[in-house]
Symmetry: D2
């Protein structure tokens, strides 16, 4: 398949769309990004790579980081899912507190904020310096030792993160947070602030398309764990628009409010897109369209 041609076709079509969505602006650092940015990167399990547009420019990965921390947590202790975090779609907004109250502080899944906070808490219980561990892990996976936290972004999120403070304290009140709330959120805000490019992400997540192994054959997750993460991405990865996303794009994926979306085509490749403007559900507007076209042109939807 001529992936260069496909990427070009998508790029061309996307360029002509006028409505580019709305760039997240709840913190200044995010709002300053140009809505004109657009990048796309592919990595195949065979090792081939393709890219288009701003594929090497860094952006704030935000919620995409939840897949990294989940992976790190599962590596250590599989049982956290079901025990401290569920695996079902929430049917509510990503930062809702309602369900937590009726379900006694057990978040529905690891990709809503509440669930991701519990996952990060588990890393604080394992690692002396969880922030170092996370960034090292991401550098290793992507093969890019230059990846760093954007401290300005992390700091801004902290400053305005009343809802997350509410979530973490609420979970703590139910006994489902082992560490200090401030420490957990500090790590959480840092993981969200990781600054990476489409190509970094395409490389870092190739293990999810490769049965859990990186391309040198090293096991990151077991086969079963990989299946679990991919299925969670399908049913819970794109905020409360998973049904819509599954229909239009049809592959496991995780989005972030920085405008990035990572898609996994199991057994075949990763496909990553970045366009900062978001739709109402918080997913990249053009990013979703680009992925929709990609799975249509390649016939690679899992459905």
């Amino acid at each position: 398949m001529d992936y260069n041609k496909i990427l070009e076709e998508i790029y061309c079509e996307i360029s002509q769309i006028e409505d580019r969505g709305r760039v997240a602006d709840y913190i200044p650092a995010l709002g300053a990004v140009s809505p004109e940015k657009f990048g796309m990167a592919l990595k195949l399990v065979t090792g081939e790579e393709y890219h288009m547009g701003d594929a090497f420019e860094n952006f704030s990965i935000q919620s995409i980081s939840k897949v990294f921390t989940l992976t790190l947590s599962l590596e250590n202790d599989d049982s956290i899912l079901n025990r401290r975090v569920g695996i079902e779609p929430s049917g509510n907004a990503f930062n809702s507190l309602v369900q937590l109250e009726t379900e006694n502080g057990i978040p529905r899944n690891p990709f809503i904020n509440a669930g991701a906070i519990v996952i990060t808490d588990s890393l604080l219980s394992i690692h002396k310096n969880p922030k170092n561990r996370i960034v090292d892990f991401v550098r290793q996976l992507s093969g890019n030792s230059g990846i760093i936290y954007d401290f300005e972004v992390a700091h801004s999120e902290k400053e305005t993160g009343y809802r997350n403070m509410a979530l973490a304290n609420f979970i703590k009140s139910y006994g489902n947070l082992s560490n200090n709330v401030e420490d957990v959120l500090d790590t959480y805000y840092h993981q969200c602030s990781l600054s990476m490019s489409c190509m970094d992400l395409a490389r870092a997540f190739i293990f999810l398309a490769n049965n859990g192994k990186d391309l040198e054959g090293k096991e990151i997750l077991s086969y079963r764990q990989t299946k679990k993460v991919n299925s969670l991405l399908m049913t819970c990865g794109t905020y409360d628009a998973v049904g819509n996303f599954a229909y239009k794009v049809g592959i496991p994926a995780k989005s972030g409010v920085g405008g990035g979306i990572v898609g996994i085509i199991p057994g075949v490749m990763t496909v990553v897109v970045w366009s900062p403007g978001l739709d109402k559900a918080g997913n990249s507007l053009l990013g979703s369209k680009a992925l929709e076209q990609f799975t249509t042109l390649t016939g690679r939807s899992v459905f």
Copy 2:
């Protein structure tokens, strides 16, 4: 792949499991079925068929019928999804009224009862005799002209269906039901009472594994509509256990409280299983296990 051997292996393992779940008994006709029943049937897009155990014995398809009525409705008018019924997982029990109240009578998806009732209502607006149309459609799809409604089951459901009466009247109060409540529910209870075998279902749903076409090439749904139905099955097809089912089985599927589960492996085959005992979420307990093993042994999970 030696499907006969795989089915045998599954059958053998399933036979040794003592906990067979709990047969639905809210109506006498369902409760009378032996929990020892177990059948499995495959149909490949190449036309091959495989079966095991009670694959030719009829059972009550119950919620599996929601896929037939959705297909019939989409055939006529695509726009019903999003307009009158959503496409997102509900995060609530299949017969919950809560979400309907906050979302003004628009059910979350066509596979919870509320959504299925709206879909059935749409059929009453199109067809003079919707009950005849539905059974004819199912007969045509399965190639079995002997398929009939089980009037005793339909009658029993009506007698005890206070929750469904509540749902339908509630939807009607929001103006999202065009026809008479009693008429809609009468059709709904009849569709649920359809009595079919694993092999009937494997044949009837082969179009969902074959890009919308039956094996003679006749288009039942368009390519896009087929993708939509399959993705809806993945994100909403197994009550409020979709995350768990996606992880363990990893294919689009629809279950019914009669103990049947229909799985779709896009591009490859349908796989249908029947075992009357249910788990807490209302899915066949051994049926889920059998499908989990099937996708593991064949490597056919979409993840």
Copy 3:
């Protein structure tokens, strides 16, 4: 105290208010009433009576009837409160189904629709002809043998009562309705359709201001039951505006969407007002103002 002068003063002031609220129009018979109507009637426990404006004109008492049926039910069996219907304010709209689902079909109190339907159900279990019993009881209490059901209103409510059908079936699904849904609702719609005047109501409810006895000394309710009904009126009698009403008016009261409000001043009198235009909460707009002024001018708020 010169009640005639007070009524005149209120009447005078009310006449000058331009915004008279919105007449309920969900059924034609209610919508046809002139918003210019205004009546007021007092009955003291000493026997004295006062009136003003359209105090002798009949209107649809609607939810005020819930106090009659509760009284009839308590007369027979005190234990229905707490066992089948709660005694706490709901914090939700009067016709909400949400709370019923989380509280397993036990309505919060007897003055929301769900609770009133359960109360009516209890009357069907006691009386052979509950509709006759209710109207007889109301005639006896008010001393007006001419009081009748408005069959047109009852019929209209039935025709459009999908929400109430949903409520009743939902309650039935939890086993908290003993009789046939249609029969219960038929009685319920009839009680709501009772056509009475301010003076009829002032006379009928004097027992609630007189420790449970009518003015001939006959006990309708015990002293304790009377206290219970009055406290329920205070905390649950005016839809989801009880806090606001308690603050402004400060006496136990029951309103109806026909525009009537019955107020009880324990130990002193009943005060009834009628003005068909409603505020957003469904209470008579000018009726509430008139009662607010009445308790201010007479210093009769319980606070």
Copy 4:
């Protein structure tokens, strides 16, 4: 009326009850109080005072402090009610976050934690040293300059107050908290820790029984504000048992988890009781019974 005899009768009867409820133990300082304690104090608007048992022993007033801060806030700015805090019963537990989410951070009333936190926030915006202002105000109202904060209690509440941290941050995320979360909660925990006796409270709240004036005639609240506070106590003062409390006791009242309950008989007196064991709703078990008997024996229920 012989109040001494009435108090004695109540005391005698209460002494014989074996089930004294459960002392709050979520912080050690509260759990250490003996369940055998029982005190009662009356103050009439004529100046007379009566007492019984441990009426002069200090206890932690906890939520009763919400009435002091509300009074201080209303003194300054009447419009906070309706604008930043509602006046309706919540129908939910006192520390629930659910309603806040559906109602955009506007708490239902000033006596649930969320509402009290907003009220305290308003005091931080008015007073340079709100903690000093509050304790000074309470000393002035009660005429007891020895009243102090129990710093151990305040500190303990802070240590375990994850739910309140969640509430405050959640409210802040909706923009309904002007000051720093930590500062607001610090003041909030201190007000709750005020250590007072039954007699202190009976004296301090006499203005609510005296149309807003203390017994020297100084206006604390206007007549209308006093009516508002009393009606709020009636509809929202006893957690989610207001209906039950209104029925059994029938007067405006505010309870605290320290086991105190302050009752207001408008125009007549305050009646305060203390017994540390709580019922399921968080109100003093014997305290409620004592007040029930008091209003029965004196005929002073408002109903």
